[in-house]
Subunit: 448 residues, 2 copies
Amino acid sequence: MGKRHEQLHLGAFIYYAGHHHAGWRHPDSGVEGMFDIDWYRRLARTAERGKFDMIFFADLLYATNVEQAVAGMLEPITLLSALSAATEKIGLTATVSTTYNDPFNVARKFSTLDHISGGRAGWNIVTSQLDIEAHNYGKAKHPEHSLRYEMAHEFVDVVTRLWDSWEDGALVLNRETGQFADGTKVKPVDYKGQWYSTAGPLNVPRSPQGYPVLIQAGSSGPGQEFAASIGEVIFTAQQSLEAAQTFYENVNGKLAGYGRKRGSLKIMPGLSPVLGSTEEEAQRRHRELQELIPHAAITMFLSSLLGVDLSEHSLDDQLPDIPDPVEKFNGMKSRIQLIMNMAREEKLSMLELGRRVLGARGHLQFVGTPEQLADLIERWFESYACDGFNMMAPVLPGGLEEFVDEVVPILQKRGLFREDYTGHTLREHLGLERPAEHHFRLARASHS
Amino acid sequence: MGKRHEQLHLGAFIYYAGHHHAGWRHPDSGVEGMFDIDWYRRLARTAERGKFDMIFFADLLYATNVEQAVAGMLEPITLLSALSAATEKIGLTATVSTTYNDPFNVARKFSTLDHISGGRAGWNIVTSQLDIEAHNYGKAKHPEHSLRYEMAHEFVDVVTRLWDSWEDGALVLNRETGQFADGTKVKPVDYKGQWYSTAGPLNVPRSPQGYPVLIQAGSSGPGQEFAASIGEVIFTAQQSLEAAQTFYENVNGKLAGYGRKRGSLKIMPGLSPVLGSTEEEAQRRHRELQELIPHAAITMFLSSLLGVDLSEHSLDDQLPDIPDPVEKFNGMKSRIQLIMNMAREEKLSMLELGRRVLGARGHLQFVGTPEQLADLIERWFESYACDGFNMMAPVLPGGLEEFVDEVVPILQKRGLFREDYTGHTLREHLGLERPAEHHFRLARASHS
């Protein structure tokens, strides 16, 4: 039994046919199934067999560079709804952008998914990243980083109020008197914000979980505050145990300021493992994957990330001096800082840097045996660097199946992870309370 | 065998716990299941057992008056995605408003549903009706009728171009060369319209049906033009065989002007049957239903529909003179005209009018035996008043089950309706061609 009272949490992050940039090119990838429900059914059932808390779908609102890289995704809420019929217990988490959606539609869709799945929905709240996403929605530019977070905060405020607009038990359904619902328990929202307004009530009654679980992905300053104010899970990129411990302590330290209890926000870094039955085998498998990344993709990726044209540079050189790339970039700011630090501290060539970053896309890369991976997970969890991990299999479905068959049993044997589900809803799997109506509204009011 | 070469088409229209205003109050209604996926699974499987072309979900973007009337609906695309897993052949049609959505999101969700269901998706294109819907989306007023149709036309234009932005066969998936897709078959859209713009391409490859089937609901002048230009099914309200024949001829007559073939737009009026083993039993069941409609609901409904306060009038009186209700009202214009005509021609009291309209909500009401209903269907179909019907069971699930068990076999015996599915996609069930890329774009260009 582990030292911590609780057990760790696991998400199965589904990104294309594997999280590795070139994962789809691996002979074992299921890339042919990327637009086929049977393939996703297999992934979801594998994660449920592994007793994961949730399956977790990324989302990108563009398709570009389709000649050289994997592109396109089924819309995640629609996809998860179909998967709810193929699974019984696992949480169903979709990434949905606040920047390119309307609060009433988002509130309604997640409430619907929560009803349909019997309380298994989670919303990974993002603000999107790129101008090419803006262009698909008739906007000239993607809104600037801090503005996006301000808008997102208001967006989530509106959505949670819509979820609260029907109280539990509002449905009366009295055939005799003709009373459908108790009007005192169904209230307008009458929200007039700076960016969003809605009258309400929502056109769906309160769902099994009250709200879907609110997940926040983004570890910049505004991202951390946002997570501390309304997040119940934070999905973060952390490269070292020490940095993760600091992040864990910082974020947990912010909760009291929002009237929230320590532990009410689960911290789950991404973790991308390449496994082998020996260290050597794992290293070889990792090398094979890294070599599948096209050089042109590395040049293009670093150029676009850093806002400079690197096409005249040799990939064997180190990065040239670039003034303030973090300031310049309007996307995942915390991720870029991390990449720049890595390049400088380890004096990496652009080829090495590119492979490392594209390989795990900025998340923690592990290469080794299942036993060694279990050691890392235990060490991070027991030393309060995280509450669990979002597992980013580099190649799907194989990477997820290996983890479920070879790593989960070790974690279970060590008492770190559940032998079976004990609850029915995603909130129950994560040890999160079902929110009372007006929960977050009061939490924010006490802070301001 | 019927005289027409083709067979008729049937949709199962799902509206609350039955299409009748007070249907949910009937002892046999399944109103307790209205937010429960098991209930919808039962409905979908019943319709599939009856070999219906499609199950067809209404949508309303508000919940109001919840004390006195049924309210609230699960979001239909999310719901249909879950139902795709519970069915194999039946078409899955969702109403989605062009006024309160974004084209990129709508294109993507329907494409996803079409992929997930193996080509069974249909989009019932509506422009919504009421200011209270606008208020939920941060807008002060619902746009005016003709503006809404102009916007809808552009909206559908954008969406179909997004569906065309990946040609069939664009996916290459060559692991060796690293070529994911054929870039010459994935094109930007670069649409800059008056109301909508999008860069594209869509982030989902072209779906099994090319496009989901485009259904148009609305029979006003602009609605008919809209249907003739892009619709593949028109869902309409018709009260008499003669009026329906005129409508059928009018709409079919417009197709050539858009470069389209006669028969490429299926005309399906709504039909709301109350069945009984004898005429007397059917009449009694209908009367029981009509009497469940609260008088207050009739006053409120007629007042809101006609834009006057009728609360001081006795329901036993005829409608007072109302200047230009059709002009004043910004909703379903063709439906109001029909109601006004009915009231005047038959000299109905407001109670009679209210019961008639709320009972079938403006659609054709049938009361009689299964054999008589089959006669009506045959008569309308054979005399080119329609290509089939959207069946609006007054009480669900019973009304649908009765129709499947007692009416479908008669239609099959008469050769009017399929004994079993012969195709796999909704297009195949409806006898519609799979559109070539740029199909509608060219069709419209040739017209303008």
